[in-house]
Symmetry: C2
Subunit: 81 residues, 2 copies
Amino acid sequence: MVDAGAPPFDFDLRQTLGENLRRLRAERDWSQEDLAFECQLHRTFVAHVERGKRNISLDNIAKLASALGVPAYRLLVPPAD
Amino acid sequence: MVDAGAPPFDFDLRQTLGENLRRLRAERDWSQEDLAFECQLHRTFVAHVERGKRNISLDNIAKLASALGVPAYRLLVPPAD
């Protein structure tokens, strides 16, 4: 056990998820509305997640991944560049 | 766009996260309380996440991953076996 204090925190994780969503959605030529429809989520929710504005839940990550046809962990892998 | 209906849903994602947490925690010889302390989360919260009982948020996934010193996506990769 180390000292408590603030744990290191991955502030980029929301951005990583947002970028991956946007890229995978674009690859499918889907609008945000298309993706939202496939997941039964709201378009503004999808828009906010893509911009890193929402603290999305695991179940909704699963819904997005299923709609996009990718394993959920792929949504959290930092882009290569 | 395909028919709406219920999207395919990865019901196992909570279980995958729970199993990964438990394994990584055990590798470090940490109790649930140790991990909770490192993340500044509650021990019962960690216990529930390990059992797939909680719909954890992305920010809390990031905290757990940081405390365990692994990239967050690793927590969602299905175990090999």
